[in-house]
Symmetry: C2
Subunit: 341 residues, 2 copies
DNA sequence: ATCCGCATAGAAAGCGCTTTCGTAAGCGCT
DNA sequence: AGCGCTTACGAAAGCGCTTTCTATGCGGAT
């Protein structure tokens, strides 16, 4: 029969002290004798008292929850990042609220508003921004208002939000990946990419273009198929590529999820990897090394990025946005090899 | 220049109405003329007003956030479930707070307390319980107090918590999996399992034992290797199994993550699948069909389970805990075949 | 014209906490 | 004994909302 939860005043009464003393005892601040503090805590424990965060926050305590926005939790890239945030957050006694944005600026705005409404201590956004700055202007404005009100914001992989950022070097990663394929001797390379409206895709592609140019190739002459940034997208892209260009010797997917789809599609068509076609990914999601063939990819330390972005979010604001560059490394496994003579 | 956020009273003043009218206008309740409601909303929009959830909840509004506890977000089983909860939650305008329990009853208790402190509308717990009921008694008590106070609780795969539950039939799933292997002709089957302290493992194993018994076999005579419920655990379990029992014709992993590790370990040892050894998983995580060979497994509709558990959590409490049985189905792919003559 | 009822507006009382602020008590000094 | 100092404690003022409760104005019915 839905009876009321014990409140601080109930605890105070039961312990025979004022509510002020009880508050101090529970929050561990000074101004209470050890004897009273102990008594209050004991009584609180017996009564099953759990402080009301809403009341606490309202009364002036700093919020202890942080908001995390990801494009899609099912994408292993975001899963890993979320894991990092969750782990470090729990360790610091923080609560985390997660929202999905689905790579949709409108949904993103809605989610940001929800976090603002909850007066979270910090908002962390993971996931590519949009090449078209206009599209994310409303979000940016909302975030700025949030910061003006004392909130903190930190992002992963977004340069244009005027917030502290953890930045993977997508450009350099793309370059070293392309260099690897070129060094193996590949020239007819196809690309399975996510929406080019995403900065992540644009940046990786730019790095690739740079490497290609050094080898006298032009990215514009090569097949670049834009698809969903998912396994299914990778599968579809592969069929599109092979139907139009049966002579490619390598397919570079711009994230591992797509690469998994590429691998499956090639298998379905009876194309051997890396015998007939080499395949590469990007991110190095945990499952990449378990695939067959084990995936050559560019490693991004996703879980660590999650921890770092939370660290940034917890630091007091600085006058200029901080940026933390993330190391990346080419991980050569079994899915790439020299093209057949 | 951390300036203060606009409050409801600021909006009310700017619109020239009382704070009560402004409140009604913003929350869409009756008692305001359309003209005033429209004006207030316009002014609020201009001022960038976002209601303070803490104040709103404190004042008596129902909480709009729900808490979700998973063992480990990185485990695709939980990722999928979380995705389902997140999607349906967003659709209903709910906010979700996620916590990690790491299969540790103490951490679980801490996380439950945090959710209680946040006075969430409902607590959703996904993930296996413990065979030893004593170990989760404190959590159960806390949840009961939460429910007594009007909170809602719904769980996935836990029968012993006295809450509404979505229940995959692990027993039947285990049975049909074992029947499949037996039907193919396998007799020397090894099992790579997670901690047997988990009810999920115990239930699946019980179903398997039942099928084996029907075929005149005793599970106790077969190798059952207990390891971490992860890819790495599956890998280690495989080596342990093969070192001690080189003659097994099938390895059944009790979740897909372990199966992925089994596949990789077999490949590393040069054992062909399913030629020399058949491999099966459990759950049917999204990547299962993309593996090579594509994994035979028992499908659990994880995302749907996430939605269902949220649905249960949103319904008013009933006198007796509701249970929603989840369908499962054996998905036969390429990783199982008849043992070599 | 008078009265009743309804819809709309505002005043004010909290929701459960934290935190000044004021007071009382205890201490070591001179 | 008297002084100032520190420390322990409680009263009370909010934090920003929702929600009674009360007051006002209007229409229609008499």
């Amino acid at each position: 029969m839905t009876q009321r939860r014990a409140r601080l005043i109930d605890v105070a009464d039961a312990a025979g002290v004022s509510i002020a003393a009880a508050s101090r005892a529970m929050s561990g601040s000074t101004g209470v004798s050890d004897a009273i503090a102990a008594r209050v805590r004991r009584v609180a424990g017996e009564m099953g008292y759990v402080a009301n965060v809403h009341a606490r926050t309202l009364a002036g305590g700093a919020s202890t929850t942080i908001g995390l926005l990801v494009h899609e939790i099912g994408d292993p890239y975001f899963t890993e990042i979320a894991g990092g945030v969750l782990r470090l957050g729990a360790q610091q006694g923080l609560t985390v609220q997660i929202g999905h944005t689905g790579r949709d600026p409108d949904a993103e705005l809605t989610q940001v508003r929800a976090l603002v409404a909850n007066r979270v201590r910090a908002i962390v956004i993971a996931g590519s921004g949009f090449v078209d700055a206009a599209v994310q202007a409303p979000v940016k404005a909302e975030l700025q208002a949030f910061q003006a009100g004392g909130g903190r914001v930190a992002v992963i992989g977004r340069h244009h939000l005027g917030a502290d950022a953890v930045l993977p070097d997508n450009h350099a990663g793309g370059r070293s990946l392309a260099e690897h394929l070129l060094a193996l001797g590949h020239r007819r390379i196809a690309f399975a990419v996510g929406s080019r409206a995403l900065t992540t895709v644009a940046d990786r592609l730019a790095g690739i273009a740079e490497a290609l140019a050094s080898a006298g190739l032009d990215l514009d002459d090569l097949p670049v198929v834009e698809e969903e940034f998912t396994r299914a997208g990778g599968r579809r892209a592969t069929h599109a590529i092979l139907d139009a260009h049966p002579d490619v010797t390598a397919i570079a997917a711009l994230n591992d999820d797509m690469a998994i789809g590429v691998l499956a599609a090639l298998r379905a068509r009876g194309v051997s990897v890396p015998g007939e076609v080499s395949v590469s990914g990007f991110d190095d999601v945990p499952v990449a090394e378990y695939l067959w063939p084990a995936l050559t990819t560019v490693r991004l330390p996703m879980a660590e990025m999650g921890e770092q972005v939370l660290e940034l979010a917890l630091k007091p604001a600085s006058s200029r946005p901080r940026r933390r560059l993330t190391g990346h490394s080419l991980v050569v496994r079994d899915s790439t090899a020299a093209p057949r003579g």
